[in-house]
Symmetry: C2
Subunit: 190 residues, 2 copies
């Protein structure tokens, strides 16, 4: 068994797709069924509320809310109540998939399909020393990062929050369509 195949075997043992959305679960299953590809992580896109000590210190950020579906203002306001210290940001995050590919050619083929399906921020994130394992990151451009308040004080009015959430919910719908297109496009890899 090659180093790549051994890594795939380990990844498949760790893989749990029970919790994944329908659209992403289909993509993960299809990719892993192909020789020379395996997925290492995935998220179908989400709306998140984080509390962070300062900008950029995202590693220290604490998630105070996380939704892989449309969210209401009431849910967001309820989640914010749990936080007392730090900055509150609302994030709308693109789907993200990391896929290990056994060669540059395979990675380039996957990248082309991802970009053609609308995942325009897709790229190659890492290449192993021997060029035999290439990690492709699949992402779209849909995104919001909005600072809402600080240390328990909300700077964002309710009408503004309504507007922001309508955009965030719309983005989630939009990326679902892209995920379907991408899943369909993957058949070319076979």
């Amino acid at each position: 068994m090659s180093v790549f195949e051994a890594a795939k075997k380990r990844a498949m043992e760790r893989l749990r797709i029970g919790g994944a959305d329908e659209e992403v679960a289909g993509i993960i299953e299809r990719l892993n069924s192909f020789e020379g590809f395996f997925t290492t992580s995935s998220c179908s896109g989400r709306i998140a509320l984080i509390c962070l000590p300062e900008i950029g210190a995202k590693r220290e950020a604490e998630f105070i809310g996380k939704w892989h579906r449309s969210v209401t203002k009431e849910e967001v306001l309820e989640a914010i109540k749990t936080s007392e210290k730090g900055e509150i940001w609302l994030l709308s995050q693109s789907p993200i998939l990391h896929v290990a590919c056994r060669s540059l050619e395979k990675a380039k083929a996957l990248l082309r399909i991802a970009i053609e399906s609308g995942f325009k921020y897709s790229s190659i994130k890492a290449i192993s020393k021997d060029n035999e394992k290439v990690v492709v990151e699949i992402m779209s451009t849909e995104r919001m990062d909005v600072p809402l308040g600080k240390d328990g004080v909300m700077f964002c009015s309710e009408s503004h929050l309504d507007f922001i959430l309508s955009k965030a919910n719309f983005m989630l719908e939009r990326v679902k369509e892209k995920l379907k297109r991408f899943c369909y496009g993957l058949k070319e890899l076979k």
Copy 2:
């Protein structure tokens, strides 16, 4: 002259760095002085106001304000007045550099320096068919995308805008430090 060198020659003829910030100008000059590398585009990071017909249709977005420096609330409100139709978004955008590298090894070395300097969203965006031209994109994680209003109606209060702009201005300062670190790190490429 190789295909790569011919492409570098053409890029150098088009290159205008007179308008670039000090930090980015130094990086561009240093990178282009190395054999096997050339820059194809760059931005030192900016705060932008765009007006767009709908999310994702960023190609149709119209810039109504663009600043490569700290910005005041008054400047932003003044710029917004010029727009009547569509959604207004305030963006805080990371520095971005595209660098053509003559081999995968060179691209990987550049990528490592970029990530170690704090440009954690850096990646390989494209590889030519013969693997002899590799485009590296250098970007950091600092970013905001905030919808402010629609069709002439502002949903964002002035106190919230103050808060948002303090974050945007802080991000610009922060990335300047990263640019200096990156410029210094580039000497390893020699």
